[in-house]
Symmetry: C2
Subunit: 202 residues, 2 copies
Amino acid sequence: MKKTVGVSPKVNSDLTAKARIRNAAFALYANYGEDATSMRAIAEAAGVTVGLVVHHFRTKDGLREAIEQHIVDLFFGAIEQVPLEGTTAEIAAARDEAVADMLSDNPAVVGYLRRALLDPMGHRGRILEMLTDLAAKQVATLRNVGVASKAHRDSSQVIGVMIRQLGQLFLQPMVDSMWNQLAGPNAAEDDKPLLVVKVQES
Amino acid sequence: MKKTVGVSPKVNSDLTAKARIRNAAFALYANYGEDATSMRAIAEAAGVTVGLVVHHFRTKDGLREAIEQHIVDLFFGAIEQVPLEGTTAEIAAARDEAVADMLSDNPAVVGYLRRALLDPMGHRGRILEMLTDLAAKQVATLRNVGVASKAHRDSSQVIGVMIRQLGQLFLQPMVDSMWNQLAGPNAAEDDKPLLVVKVQES
DNA sequence: TATTCTGCTATACGATCGTATAGTATTGAT
DNA sequence: ATCAATACTATACGATCGTATAGCAGAATA
């Protein structure tokens, strides 16, 4: 089985049916949630039948595992491609930017994670743990290469990285909804208030 | 395995069956989401049969409407009880505190709103619109009584109020999960980083 | 060419869902 | 005491869910 780690921006028609199914499910999960998405809806969106979904992914749990592994691969691929040169701060900034680019290229990632991470009881996957591990390894790598900032403890730094990158994206839909309701749909977009999310040492 | 979520039976015992059903559904929705909560689970949690749930609320939509009206009533009741005396800033601060107290007394409100507000596509209710209206009226009242701050436009101020009060509560579970994973379950609790959520004029 | 394997469709099964309906018990007004 | 409305239970129906199974077409292997 070949594994595509790098992101190939190919259109759906060039993909295998298995990848098309995963992508269809990914998009539906991000928009409507796993519970509200039936296997039949996934099959229809991918242009196949229900049986083929089961054939490739066994169960709905297996489908979610494939999606979450795909998300981890996207994060890893984004981080991996920035070279380890420059100061620690420069590397960290370059990684932040690479992840931000990946997120804006893959809005389904944000939608999926928003549901998964903010629904601690309902979500049955392990995506938060996997991404936290990845971020922890990212911080550890920086520490090995140069001198990581000692101003923050490692844990705080990992949490800070993830919250800064995801928190604003998670809350933005709420701001957008309220802005539309209060200011009307055709108000000047650049009057919209800016969301700021950060963590502080206690 | 029977797990009671949220409401203590002591409180429940002297309520009408209709209120018990609403409270049971409210707690279950907050913890597991509406889609993952069946009418039969609600009935069992309330100690009645499915038929009675339908008798009192007609449909599942009707049940959600009752819950969301209850939430609006809780917000209104919290705001209503602070007297209109002192400076505008003092009134606003007292209202913020009253709402914060209400939220800590009713954790199901936070859980329910977190699901509803962060799921703009999936949610079928109107709770965000209702609460935004309420907050807008709150700002308007302050403007009538005294002199509301002109430093921010009304819309920004409304959004600021709601984001400050809810944003931190929404993201906190994510911080908690990561903190537990990284620092271990028995780490010093006061080392945990603090979440800061705010909005800025653009 | 014969056989096996893989990608894929079609259909069906049991569980669970929201809801409708019919009937019983309890209350409240006259 | 009567009677109607309300509170509540029991059961059933149709739809939809995840998944199991059987079979077919075409490529691969020998």
